[in-house]
């Protein structure tokens, strides 16, 4: 995926207002199959895989024994004993080694199918209408985080209502499209661009992918979460199921942290003065340095600088004023209510429903 095709801002706006398409074939995809697949996954991830009905997925993290995040991922249950996992491209080798390394004693087979299955994301309020034109099945019947077997442009695929933009949208997996013969994927890509033409569809790059997920308040592994950040600090408490029947890696550390309270917390910051916060910039309160920006930049939707970062827990209340050190000056900003930076009645997959 290039950084941009036409430009980050027009691509960003296409997704917020209409529809955009991303080639996400670089992501990691693994099949986990076997009598112990469910038990194994519940051992490595924090969420409860046992609650999944077939052809449904959940967002989760997997942790190291210190409670740090190895990666964030989506686990889909295809059928009893058969799962499909999608994780970050940058962690492909690390994650596969991690899964394999912890599979001893479980009757489970793991297979990296990243290079056998093309993956494309179609995102935006017109994504459903666009996809319906090339899809054999009724797209509107696929619920959020549900997976469906469909034919796209006549080719076998699995399609889920998921994404990384905050908008309604889908991610689909074209089966049997090995990297060395991408013809099917190219055909579907071209058909999508044609199907979405009337809505102003645009192919989108990594730049828009990043600005869209930042506006939506979604974490980027390596920036906002990493091996030394716990899901409690990252405010991903909802993906940890302490009470599930099988112990998972990192549980003890996370229980200790929960009991003692987190020391720092992920927050959203909106700038109130000119300037764009960037990854690594310092967060200040008065003359005290209190934290660091982990992701930041321009919000094309709001027209101002926005950031995610970590501050001591006591500072995390919405409305708290902070300053961000942008080169030589300290620019004013404030901590905002957590999660999407945009007005959810106007943007994002919940729009119109509130």
């Amino acid at each position: 995926m290039p950084v941009w095709y036409e430009g980050v801002i027009p691509e960003h706006n296409a997704v917020r207002n209409a529809v955009g398409v991303f080639d996400t074939s670089h992501m990691g995809r693994v099949r986990a199959e076997g009598p112990d697949a469910e038990r194994f996954l519940n051992h490595v991830v924090t969420n409860n895989v046992s609650t999944l009905e077939p052809m449904n997925g959940i967002y989760t993290v997997m942790c190291n024994p210190r409670g740090g995040i190895v990666d964030d991922l989506i686990v889909y249950k295809l059928a009893d004993g058969r799962f499909f996992i999608v994780y970050n491209a940058s962690n492909r080798e690390k994650d596969f080694a991690w899964l394999e390394g912890h599979s001893e004693g479980f009757d489970v087979g793991l297979r990296d199918v990243s290079d056998e299955i093309a993956m494309i994301a179609v995102q935006g309020p017109r994504a459903e209408e666009t996809l319906q034109k090339i899809c054999s099945e009724p797209v509107s019947e696929i619920g959020r985080f549900q997976l469906a077997r469909v034919r796209l442009s006549g080719f076998d695929a699995m399609m889920a209502r998921t994404g990384y933009t905050g908008e309604d949208g889908f991610e689909f997996f074209l089966l049997d499209t090995p990297l060395e013969s991408p013809e099917r994927a190219l055909k579907v890509w071209d058909d999508l661009l044609e199907a979405g033409e009337e809505f102003g569809i645009k192919p989108c790059g990594l730049g828009a992918r990043d600005s869209l997920r930042l506006e939506a308040g979604l974490c980027l592994y390596g920036n906002d979460i990493d091996d030394d950040t716990s899901p409690l600090e990252a405010r991903l408490r909802w993906v940890i199921k302490f009470k599930k029947p099988i112990d998972f890696i990192g549980k003890e550390a996370l229980m200790r942290e929960r009991k003692g309270g987190v020391k720092r917390s992920r927050v959203g910051i909106v700038m109130e003065e000119r300037g764009l916060p960037r990854h690594g910039y310092e967060v200040w309160d008065g003359d005290e340095r209190i934290g660091v920006v982990t992701s930041g930049g321009l919000s094309p939707t709001l027209g101002v600088g926005i950031a995610m970062g970590y501050v001591p827990r006591d500072y995390r209340k919405a409305g708290n004023p902070v300053r961000i050190k942008i080169r030589r000056r300290l620019a004013k900003g404030k901590i905002v209510k957590f999660h999407p930076f945009y007005d959810e009645s106007k943007y994002g997959w919940r729009r119109g429903s509130k």
Partner: protein
């Protein structure tokens, strides 16, 4: 060659892609080159130097930012900043649209102009500098 980039004659260029144009009143207009704006792509924010500030050739006096990256602005000459292009605060895209015209960034009253200009490149040398990086 520096195909695809506009590199006008008669102005001076730095290795970091700023340009300096001597005006009739003796001041120097400063901006970034067409190559620089194309590398940045969509300019979304410009941090202007401070009017009245004393600067030395090569000092970082501001920044030009795209969605994805930040590029320091290094002063091509020494002197005092006498004016900045405040239109860029609301319309940073002027840098993309007219890098050598309406997208100018600062005006400097130079203190050692002849010496400073001697250290900069003319259009031909700058064109080679751009071409060397494009390959």
């Amino acid at each position: 060659m520096s195909e695809g980039y506009h590199i006008p004659d008669g102005i001076s260029y730095t290795e970091e892609d700023e340009w300096a144009r001597r005006l009739e009143d003796g001041t120097v207009l400063v901006g970034i080159s067409d190559y620089a704006q194309k590398q940045l792509h969509e300019v979304v924010y410009v941090e202007l130097p401070e009017v009245g500030g004393e600067v030395a050739q090569g000092d970082s006096i501001g920044a030009v930012e795209s969605v994805k990256s930040v590029s320091d602005l290094f002063s091509p000459v020494s002197g005092t900043v006498v004016e900045v292009n405040e239109a860029l605060l609301d319309s940073p895209e002027l840098i993309n649209e007219h890098p050598y015209g309406e997208g100018w960034i600062a005006k400097i009253e130079p203190s050692d102009l002849d010496e400073d200009l001697a250290r900069l490149m003319d259009a031909k040398a700058y064109g080679e500098h751009v071409a060397a990086r494009a390959h």
